[in-house]
């Protein structure tokens, strides 16, 4: 662990210049990568009311290390770009306030489930490849538009559409994180997508085989970690994954259906 000698001075100058009242400093330890490795580097950041972790990363970029790599976009918890592990918990940096950690050091590390590019930025390309594997939404070709859909259907599906693709659920999923079974399980984000598609009243694709074989829904062992970290509070396990598992069980392990399939070839 190293410390930037200049940091304290920079912070002190910043606080002198900005106001008469003493500004509290928050101590951060941020992962900085280097060839083949990396280390936690200490930064002291002057805190302002309501500050979030992403603000602190921006302060570090502007005042200490301009090359600190951080992926972000909207800073309003709507785009899902600034995912990181903050004091060990997968969270959005733009939605994590410093005052949630009063008196503690704040450790900021990249998501561990994906290959590192630099500092806090990981390569999440795999998720986009998975998305492409999922058959597109396909309404009946003869459906007369505009469609009549009822609010109950929209309200039911809306939860799945709240997903901002931050991939925190993918980061925390044991199947992906600890077992690295990315080739066998699409992960919670795409169970949410499969659930949306298979429950959409106008979709015509029979998705059950794909959900079982390609998406690997049975790999999930229902620890609900994904639900815990979802910044959109989607009940991923209860409302997406378990219904998909039930659908697979109904279709593949129901003895009557099994017999019917056998007989019809």
């Amino acid at each position: 662990m190293s410390s930037k000698a200049t940091n304290a001075t920079v912070a002190a100058e910043a606080s002198d210049a900005s106001s008469d009242t003493a500004i509290e400093e928050t101590v951060f330890r941020v992962f900085r990568s280097s060839d083949g490795g990396g280390e936690m580097v200490e930064y002291r950041v002057p805190a302002v009311p309501g500050m979030v972790v992403l603000d602190a990363m921006h302060w570090i970029q502007a005042h200490v290390d301009g090359d600190l790599a951080v992926r972000w976009n909207c800073k309003a918890a709507k785009c899902g770009s600034c995912s990181a592990e903050i004091n060990g918990m997968p969270r959005l940096m733009c939605k994590t306030r410093l005052d949630a950690f009063e008196g503690q050091e704040i450790w900021v590390q990249p998501m561990r489930t994906f290959p590192l590019i630099k500092d806090l930025v990981t390569d999440v390309q795999w998720n986009y490849e998975v998305n492409r594997e999922i058959p597109a939404f396909t309404p009946p070709s003869d459906a007369e538009s505009p469609w009549i859909i009822h609010q109950e259907d929209v309200s039911r599906l809306y939860e799945f559409r709240k997903c901002i693709e931050c991939f925190l659920c993918q980061d925390v999923c044991h199947v992906l994180r600890d077992k690295d079974q990315k080739s066998r399980y699409y992960g919670p984000r795409f169970m949410v997508r499969e659930a949306y598609l298979s429950m959409h009243p106008m979709d015509t694709v029979d998705r059950t085989r794909g959900i079982k074989e390609d998406a690997g829904v049975s790999r999930c062992n229902i620890t609900k970690c994904c639900t815990d970290v979802c910044p959109e509070h989607i009940h991923i396990t209860d409302n997406a994954i378990i219904p998909l598992k039930e659908r697979v069980v109904d279709e593949y392990y129901d003895p009557i259906l099994w017999l019917k399939r056998k007989l019809s070839g």
Partner: protein
């Protein structure tokens, strides 16, 4: 009325052709720059015509600024109010823009928006419904009828996700986290674009027969803004450098309601849907001040009017605790608020410790949207450079001097589709191969690499902050000649400083290095805004001149065009095309 500036050149000798560093070359028919609503819609349309399409985006797919649109998309479906029609929508858009919109764009937009909404639904998008199962529409500022199709307060997310999932199955190649920094030409024609991959800093050349700019706006030149980091005006600046004409640059929309407190969240958008769903604005004396400023439309007046009203209340000493106004929706009840405004509820609860079902929000104007941009031909979105098209916020014309809420999302779809179609047609009728001049590549590489070679120098973040201060103080919501001229000279001084930006580190995902180039884009845009703002000696829409507080009927018939001349920038008024009798009558309702 021409003005020519003499922008300083970078120090040191011009690069030689032999100095070119390695770069990857890729060939496409159509290159789309930007993967927000307009870029994705353009790409889908071009690909459906059978041409080879690449999309480059600075961010990951699905993260573009479109995702932040909240309130809805305006289209005259007449599902909630049977009297709505494209004619009424057209009239609202033109009146909202104070009649210097390109009328043909407003007409096409109003006519085609309903088709684009239903198309989105057929591609899998969800919208809130009426009791009989049709698409629900909510009220919004200066729209005569309930017109905004929406899903809660996350309509932008729904739009971008639907297009994203459609586009990945359309045979399009995506280059995420890739920044284009220069358009390349063969003679007068566009021939591709050059830039770098953010992850490793490697250089990329896209050779393409047509280019669609869909790169969004430029809100980041202001400090208090609802815009994401991407909105640095790259597309506008690149088009300008390549010789395309810009138009209406002086019109910068201040959204009336951005968050005010705590300081860390200042500027984050509070959707107009809060007022659309019945929210009231109060001053510190608990007076609904909009009843005075616009007794007819009240809180749902156009954005320019509401933003100025809040500003005036604060200036008069009647501001809220932290210098804004109070926006109160509590009377609609907790259940309704959580259902119709879920992300607002969450946003205030987590970021500001405010429960909007129980207490008012504090809001103040925040820079939100650029009405101006690249000048385009209404039917095809062709710019003044052959082969170069522009759609969405990067283009000018539809919104005139003030955009109505909800018109942006349908703008993306209507004109994204048209640009994609026109680009594909252009490719099919211009088969000849194009030549790229290596000198242009050497020049761009030199511009990109100088800050790294310099190492120590001006801090790119400090230059950005200095520009934001200039724009806030001199080219903000309230303008006058002296301030604008001072702003212009400060921008030019800052441009000199920007020539000496130095950055540490290497080319691997180095935000300081990225910012160094973005600063140059933003300075160009800032200069264009300021020069056009000086010339428009009247108040119209979002452009508020305290030295010329009234509208000028002469200036109401012109748009200001900005173009490159030599190393400088010239501003010229061009006549605003006037609608024929039938369309004109729609404005007199």
């Amino acid at each position: 009325m021409d003005i020519v500036s003499n922008a300083p050149r970078p120090d040191g000798p011009a690069p030689q052709v032999g100095d070119v560093e390695p770069y990857q070359t890729l060939d496409y028919d159509v290159l789309v720059i930007g993967a927000g609503g307009a870029g994705l819609r353009a790409a889908i349309e071009a690909a459906s015509a059978g041409v080879r399409v690449a999309v480059v985006s600075k961010s990951l797919l699905g993260k573009a600024h479109t995702v932040m649109a909240e309130g809805g998309m305006a289209a005259a479906l007449a599902n909630v109010h049977p009297d709505d029609s494209w004619e009424v929508h057209y009239g609202d858009t033109m009146r909202g823009g104070q009649r210097i919109n390109q009328y043909r764009m407003a007409e096409l937009h109003a006519k085609e928006a309903p088709d684009r909404v239903y198309e989105l639904e057929r591609w899998g998008a969800l919208f809130d419904r009426t009791p009989d199962g049709r698409i629900m529409q909510r009220a919004f500022g200066a729209h005569t009828y309930n017109r905004l199709c929406h899903v809660g307060d996350r309509t932008g997310l729904e739009l971008i996700r639907t297009l994203q999932d459609r586009a990945v199955h359309a045979g399009i190649d995506f280059f995420m986290e890739t920044t284009m920094t220069r358009l390349l030409k063969d003679g007068d024609r566009v021939a591709g674009a050059f830039g770098y991959r953010r992850a490793d800093g490697s250089f990329m050349l896209f050779r393409s027969k047509a280019v669609v700019l869909a790169s969004g706006g430029w809100g980041r030149i202001y400090r208090v803004t609802s815009n994401s980091w991407e909105s640095t005006g790259d597309g506008v600046a690149m088009a300008f450098e390549a010789g395309a004409e810009l138009m209406d640059a002086e019109f910068v929309q201040f959204h009336p309601t951005g968050m005010v407190w705590p300081p860390g969240v200042r500027g984050i958008l509070v959707t107009e849907a809060v007022r659309g769903e019945g929210g009231y604005l109060y001053n510190s004396e608990h007076k609904r001040f909009m009843l005075e400023y616009d007794p007819k439309k009240k809180e749902l007046s156009s954005r320019d009017v509401v933003a100025r009203s809040i500003y005036k209340e604060v200036q008069a000493g009647r501001g809220s605790q932290h210098g804004g106004a109070y926006l109160d929706i509590t009377h609609r009840g907790a259940d309704y608020i959580k259902r119709k405004l879920p992300s607002m509820h969450e946003q205030f609860l987590t970021l500001a410790d405010v429960d909007i079902t129980k207490e008012p929000m504090e809001v103040a104007p925040t820079v939100h949207y650029a009405m101006g941009g690249v000048r385009v031909e209404p039917e095809t979105e062709a710019t003044t450079i052959p082969g170069l098209f522009a759609a969405g916020e990067v283009a000018a014309g539809l919104h005139g001097s003030n955009r109505l809420g909800g018109n942006s999302l349908t703008d993306l779809l209507v004109f994204g589709r048209r640009a994609g179609m026109a680009a594909a047609q252009f490719v099919q009728s211009h088969a000849e191969s194009l030549r790229i001049d290596e000198t242009d590549i050497a020049l761009e590489q030199d511009l990109l690499l100088r800050p790294l070679r310099r190492g120590e120098g001006e801090n790119p973040y400090a230059v950005h902050e200095a520009l934001q201060n200039i724009m806030a103080e001199q080219v903000g919501i309230k303008r006058d000649e002296d301030g604008l001229r001072q702003g212009l000279s400060s921008i030019q001084e800052l441009r000199v400083r920007s020539m000496n930006i130095g950055v540490r580190g290497d080319r691997i995902f180095n935000p300081g290095w990225h910012m160094a180039r973005d600063d140059i884009f933003m300075l160009t845009v800032a200069e264009a805004i300021t020069r056009a703002a000086i010339e428009r000696r009247e108040s119209r829409g979002a452009h508020w001149r305290i030295d010329f507080p009234e509208q000028d009927s002469e200036l109401g018939r012109v748009n200001f065009v900005v173009r490159k001349r030599g190393d400088g920038m010239e501003v010229e008024p061009v006549p605003t095309p006037q609608p024929g009798v039938q369309l004109r009558e729609l404005l007199n309702v």
